[in-house]
């Protein structure tokens, strides 16, 4: 299988603080990777660099055959990004938001496509309603619709379950499974272990700006993600050190 995301020796500093330390990370096409780690481990920073919103201080990044930051515009065409903020306009309707982003992505004659997306995210009946009247869960589903409007090869999600109730989170999971089943590559950060355990095909643990360990879902015992993560935390606590596993 070919790697759709390839990151080598990535360094990111904010002032004197080094957040990513020669991080190596690789994702194969069609994989669903969950990035786990405590707050401050560098998950969001890594996603912001991959999404071209932040520039690295050092390192080589290749996404879908294009390099960052030099070929950022080409990379952006291949990416869909969902963060814990919806990136939607409250004073526009669901349909108008998708229409706006569709135009920014250069789509034309996309009315039917918008209807399909709204159907997929379960908001077709609310398409004329203003986004500010939506619940947090509905906004997050629409945010996924926004992120996939241009049919990206890679979907990056930064803690998409934040602030969602059980029902909304379940709907989001169903939606993500549907997207992943279409062969799209997904990289998601999360603290919600039971949920990611059912979604991801690989789990990478970040610790102090490096990938500490990586495990395929098929190599984990059932319901074993939490135990696996706990064993890594214990290893770190007892001074187990950091290895590049990716």
């Amino acid at each position: 299988m070919k790697a759709i995301i390839e990151v080598r020796n990535l360094i990111k500093r904010f002032g004197h603080k080094q957040v990513l330390r020669k991080l190596n990370f690789s994702v194969q096409q069609g994989e669903f990777v969950a990035l786990l780690g405590s707050n401050g481990a560098g998950k969001t920073t890594l996603l912001r660099i991959l999404s071209s919103l932040s520039k690295p201080n050092y390192g080589e990044i290749q996404i879908a055959g294009y390099y960052l930051p030099g070929q950022a515009a080409q990379v952006r065409k291949k990416l869909g990004v969902v963060s814990h903020l919806p990136l939607l306009y409250g004073d526009l309707s669901a349909e108008e938001n998708l229409k706006f982003y569709g135009r920014l992505y250069g789509l034309s004659d996309f009315q039917n496509h918008i209807e399909e997306i709204l159907q997929l995210v379960g908001l077709l009946k609310r398409k004329k309603d203003l986004v500010r009247t939506f619940s947090r869960g509905m906004q997050q589903r629409l945010a996924i619709g926004r992120a996939i409007i241009h049919d990206p090869e890679v979907l990056l999600l930064d803690e998409p379950h934040t602030g969602l109730d059980q029902d909304a989170a379940n709907m989001l999971d169903t939606l993500l499974q549907e997207i992943a089943s279409r062969g799209r590559t997904v990289v998601m950060t999360s603290h919600d272990f039971p949920r990611v355990a059912n979604l991801a095909t690989r789990f990478d643990v970040l610790y102090k700006g490096k990938i500490h360990s990586s495990k395929l879902a098929k190599d984990l015992p059932q319901h074993g993600l939490l135990a696996y993560y706990q064993s890594i935390v214990d290893e770190i606590d007892t001074g187990g050190g950091i290895q590049d596993a990716a």
């Binding site: 520039k55 990136l87 526009l92 135009r103 992505y105």
Partner: protein, 227 residues
């Protein structure tokens, strides 16, 4: 579907989005308008000018009103993008980022002109002097263009800071001074009935500053919004 975004398509998408959102929310124009009217009222009652002095001060009062109200609009226009993370949404699009800048600038310009068009007749009534003229409208057109050109750029910069509400006027007002002086001088000349040839220097200055400010913003916007 053709995934290729032209500069103008992206630019007009941003203008369309800002106009539709404002039509619904009416937050920006109403805030600018209320503020502008308050400034006019305050000047009217605080100064209590005789007709002759009032006429001499009209251009200054008018531009102070437009500039202060415009500052409010610029701040609001960018904070809407920042608060819901929409700025990231714009920056994630595979478009030339200057298209986003021009889209925001044009929308801000339209809002400023709408406010000016409402303020002019109210000012005329309140101060009992007719200031509505095509030449004055031309000065407002040129002056506000220079103002939003650099103002949108500086608002994009200030919005990244926690103190954005204070930061924008501190950054903007010193930079905008040449445009303000030219606009006030040209407006005062028009209201005093001077011939156009006497005012050409001020018009030229406005045009030159509009070109400089727009060019600078065009060149540096990408770096300004980069993290």
């Amino acid at each position: 579907m053709q995934p290729k975004t032209s500069f103008f398509k992206a630019m007009f998408a941003v203008v369309w989005k800002d106009l539709i959102a404002e039509l619904r929310g009416k937050e920006l124009i109403s805030a600018m308008l209320v503020f502008a009217l308050l400034v006019i009222f305050i000047f009217n009652f605080a100064l209590e000018l005789d007709p002759k002095t009032r006429s001499a001060l009209t251009a200054g009062i008018l531009w102070v009103t437009i500039i202060f109200a415009g500052n409010l609009g610029l701040n609001r226009s960018m904070s809407v993008e920042k608060d819901r993370g929409c700025l990231d949404g714009l920056l994630l699009a595979p478009v030339d980022r200057t298209a986003i800048y021009f889209g925001k600038s044009i929308a801000n310009w339209i809002f400023m002109l709408i406010v000016a068009m409402i303020v002019l007749p109210i000012y005329s009534i309140l101060y009992n002097t007719n200031i509505i003229s095509p030449a004055l409208f031309l000065v407002i057109l040129l002056g506000s263009e220079g103002y939003v050109a650099i103002g949108t750029l500086l608002a994009s910069m200030a919005v990244q800071a926690r103190t954005r509400d204070i930061l924008l006027p501190i950054l903007l007002f010193p930079v905008i001074l040449p445009v303000l002086i030219a606009a006030v001088k040209a407006s005062a000349g028009i209201l005093s009935g001077f011939p156009f040839s006497d005012l050409q220097t001020w018009f030229n200055l406005l045009i030159v500053y509009d070109i400089i400010f727009t060019s600078v913003a065009f060149m540096v916007f990408d770096s300004v919004v980069e993290e």
